[in-house]
């Protein structure tokens, strides 16, 4: 056989084999297998499809959900915002309502106020009109009154002038009478009038004070231990200077009773005090044979006057110059000191000790009271005795000059107080009282500044006051428990001061 034929046959055989195989293998089994697997495959695929569909749906649902939730969030936010704004609006509305109500109330209130005011205004206007009318009336009245006034003033002036004329006439008449009186020689009357007038023009007349009789003890001062022998008022003041056994000189304000100055340096007990006319210097007579001069303002000793050989029991200073000091000591001398020169210018020796001294008003004469009871006048320049008079039977204890300088009061141990005229040395008055005993050799009495009363202390501690004009005792002051050693009357008229042996000073008003 040919190759091709063989080949072709082989190929055909192969084909047939393939067909046969097909029939046996897949051809036979395929239908059954496919049928068997269909459910599973289909199932599987079904489920798969289902699953895929569901997944897609789910995805879509998720997407939709997310979208919705986003929307929801937005919506919620919006609604919240709206709520908030709504609330705000509501609140605003409430507020506005409130405000509205308030304003309405205010408005009504204002309306009523306005009505009131209008009414008030109307009233006021009416009143105003009335007042205007009144004013006009008043104005007219005033004008009338002015005119009347003017007229009356004119009339009055006229009257006055008439009166003046009449007065002038009267004065002229009076003067006539006076002249006639004068001419008729009512000299006494005239002199009295003239004296009074003259006195009124005296120096120091302004200080003249009416003295009253003191009755009440205003102060009781423990001034000095051991006794107060000498007290003295400053010129025309209420300040009292006291000197005592305790070697001190004190100045008191008698208004309050308090101590204002204390002058120290005195070496002995103070027996007598003097103050210059200008109240600048205080001079104390000391039992240490010295005199001490203090400057009141500084309180220091200005001078110590030495020379006496025994205790100095009396001192006085010139009322004119303040330069001359006269002192009497128990060495039977009276010394005249010149404060400016600083030494003794004159020494008067007399056999009888002098207990008390007093300058005259012109400062040229001194009056001295002696143990022999005589009152003597000396000229200080020459030292010559001018005159003397027997004033007392017993030693004179005190000499004091009246304010006018004309009379001098002397007290003696004979318990008699005399007034002597300085020029004539005649006794003007005598005063005594029962129970009034002069306490010591140096008991001082005094005259009141108006020269009307005399005050003197007594050994029983009482003070007797006599009236010069009445010439009789007018009062007895009892306070002291010890003998009263010294009395002095303030230049102002009151108080009266007294010192006793216990050192107590009483002021009386």
């Amino acid at each position: 056989m040919s190759r091709e034929v063989l080949a072709r046959e082989a190929i055909n055989h192969a084909f047939k084999a393939l067909k046969k195989r097909h029939l046996i293998e897949e051809g036979a089994h395929a239908p059954a297998y496919i049928a068997l697997s269909r459910p599973i495959i289909s199932q599987g695929s079904e489920w798969k499809e289902k699953a895929e569909n569901l997944e897609m749906e789910l995805q879509q649902c998720y997407k939709a959900q997310s979208r919705l939730s986003e929307q929801l969030v937005v919506e919620v936010a919006e609604s919240r915002a709206l709520k908030a704004s709504l609330q705000e609006k509501e609140m605003a509305i409430a507020e506005l309502e409130k405000e509205l109500n308030q304003t309405r109330d205010e408005c009504s209130q204002l309306k009523t106020d306005l009505e009131e005011k209008i009414r008030a205004l109307e009233l006021l206007m009416v009143e105003h009109q009335e007042l205007k009318a009144q004013l006009e009336q008043m104005a007219i009245k005033a004008k009338n009154a002015e005119a009347e006034n003017k007229m009356l003033v004119d009339r009055w002036m006229l009257q006055k002038m008439q009166d003046a004329e009449r007065l002038n006439e009267a004065n002229a008449l009076y003067e006539d009478i006076i002249e006639r009186l004068k001419a008729s020689g009512l000299e006494k009357l005239a002199r009295e009038q003239v004296d009074g007038i003259v006195r009124r023009s005296e120096d120091g007349a302004e200080f003249f004070a009416e003295s009253t009789v003191p009755s009440v003890c205003s102060h009781r001062i423990n001034a000095h231990e051991g006794g107060c022998a000498s007290i003295l008022f400053e010129y025309n003041s209420g300040k009292l200077i006291s000197g005592g056994q305790d070697r001190s000189v004190k100045m008191w304000d008698t208004g309050t009773g308090s101590l204002t100055h204390n002058f120290s340096g005195c070496l002995g007990s103070v027996l007598d005090l003097a103050i210059t006319h200008d109240n600048r210097f205080v001079i104390a007579a000391s039992s240490s044979n010295n005199l001490f001069v203090w400057d009141v303002s500084s309180g220091r000793i200005r001078h110590t006057l030495t020379g006496h050989t025994d205790k100095v029991c009396a001192v006085d200073v010139s009322k004119v110059s303040s330069r001359h000091v006269v002192s009497a000591a128990y060495d039977r001398t009276i010394k005249v000191w010149d404060l400016q020169k600083g030494y003794c210018t004159n020494t008067i020796i007399f056999h009888s000790n002098c207990n008390a001294l007093c300058f005259s008003t012109d400062g040229l004469t001194i009056c001295s009271g002696h143990v022999d009871g005589n009152l003597r006048l000396w000229d200080i320049r020459t030292g010559k005795l001018l005159s003397e008079v027997a004033a007392h039977s017993l030693p004179i204890t005190s000499i004091s000059l009246s304010r006018n300088g004309n009379v001098v009061l002397t007290s003696g141990r004979d318990n008699v107080h005399n007034l002597f005229d300085v020029r004539s040395l005649e006794a003007c008055g005598t005063f005594r009282a029962t129970g009034n005993r002069v306490a010591s050799n140096w008991s001082r009495s005094c005259i009141s500044p108006d020269d009307n009363y005399i005050a003197a202390g007594s050994a029983d501690g009482s003070i007797c006051i006599w009236s010069i004009s009445k010439a009789d005792i007018v009062s007895t002051l009892k306070e002291h428990t010890a003998p009263v050693l010294s009395c002095t009357w303030s230049g102002l008229g009151k108080p009266l001061a007294s010192a006793d042996k216990n050192g107590i000073v009483c002021t009386w008003t």
Binding site: A7, A14, L18, R21, E25
Partner: protein, 356 residues
């Protein structure tokens, strides 16, 4: 129908049992009945098999593998080839066991599913291209989509799609005069128009699987079961079609591939006339093999489709290609052009009796 169509549509009925070690339900699941394409591969059946057994599988990761009578099946060998090789007496349906656990890593190379199979396929394609064209440029330059389409056409058994893509590859075909001769006129013209400028090659890629049996047998079902891959020798050798030979038959190809089995041909031819006993034996053997042997002992020495033997020790008992046993006179060029697998390889199963 043309041969390639038959080849592509071929399918083996499988009865797949789940291995008892993996059965966790009572009663045990029934075997799955699957039609497996001959040109396909066993791992590709996994998605079809899983639904049957998924409920009964023990928990864990599944690695699918198959065995036939205890012999783990190599997954890179096409299903049809495995069937032809391991079932000399075709057993329909073919009972195999599927395992999901306990992958025998010492016997089988790892398979990670469809991708491993795909890459194995592409690899074979490159090999074939190299053998046929001398380089595998055309396979390597194939676009991704073309690759995928080719693979999918193979997976789905879509011959038209496959032919569309493979024609782009411009793989040379075997010059086959006899193909044009044997085919009907219409088909011939179609073929001519379809393949205008086809390069012609003289080298055919062949994968030869030789099953050696020690005992001689009369019936195919007497062939003992294969229990080890050592019994099967694998020869990967291209067949050079000699140009000078006008008709190159399958016999000639086999001579090239298994020269040791054809040593005594000249001897045999000499002996033919004398020894009748051997002829009788041979004849009976030939009958069994169902190869229609046209004995023409006189003229064409080279065309004698005689059962070959190596002295008295080895002789080819069975030749199977795509499930059929072609005659030895069949032009090899026809075989090469029509019975090849999609990977452009010709898989040939041979059963050889070897005397030990």
């Amino acid at each position: 129908m043309e041969a390639p169509k038959y080849v592509w549509e071929g399918a083996i009925p499988l009865q797949i049992h789940l291995h008892e070690s993996q059965v966790t339900t009572l009663p045990p699941p029934p075997p799955a009945l699957i039609l497996a394409p001959r040109i396909g591969y066993l791992p590709l059946l996994a998605p079809l098999i899983k639904p049957y057994f998924s409920s009964t599988l023990p928990p864990g990761v599944d690695t699918i593998w198959f065995d036939c009578n205890g012999l783990p099946l190599k997954w890179y060998i096409p299903t049809g080839v495995l069937f032809d090789l391991l079932c000399p007496e075709p057993e329909r349906p073919w009972n195999i066991t599927v395992h999901f656990r306990g992958y025998p890593g010492n016997v089988l190379i790892p398979c990670e599913g469809e991708d491993s199979v795909k890459w194995s396929f592409i690899n074979s394609l490159k090999e074939a291209a190299y053998i046929m064209n001398g380089n595998c440029k055309n396979v390597m330059n194939m676009s991704q989509s073309d690759q995928l389409e080719l693979w999918h056409s193979v997976m789905n058994g879509n011959l038209e799609a496959y032919q569309r893509v493979s024609s782009k590859l411009k793989l040379a075909t075997v010059d086959d005069e006899y193909a044009s001769l044997c085919l009907q006129k219409s088909q011939q013209s179609v073929i001519e128009t379809d393949l205008p400028a086809q390069a012609k090659t003289g080298r055919v890629p062949v994968r030869l699987y030789v099953l050696s049996v020690s005992k001689d047998f009369d019936d195919l079902d007497e062939i003992p079961r294969v229990d080890s891959w050592e019994k099967i020798s694998y020869i990967n050798r291209p067949v050079e079609i000699r140009k000078e030979d006008k008709c190159f038959t399958l016999h000639d190809a086999l001579k090239i591939l298994l020269p040791e089995l054809f040593l005594d041909e000249s001897l045999m031819n000499v002996k033919l006339g004398g020894v009748d006993l051997e002829d009788a034996v041979r004849n009976s053997n030939e009958d069994v093999t169902s190869v229609k042997v046209v004995e023409d002992q006189g003229q064409n020495v080279c065309k004698q489709p005689e059962a070959c033997r190596i002295s008295s020790s080895a002789k080819i008992k069975l030749i199977r290609i795509q499930g059929i046993e072609p005659k030895l006179e069949i032009p090899f060029s026809w075989v090469a052009n029509n019975l090849l697998n999609p990977d452009y390889f010709l898989h040939v199963c041979v059963c050889v009796k070897v005397a030990q």
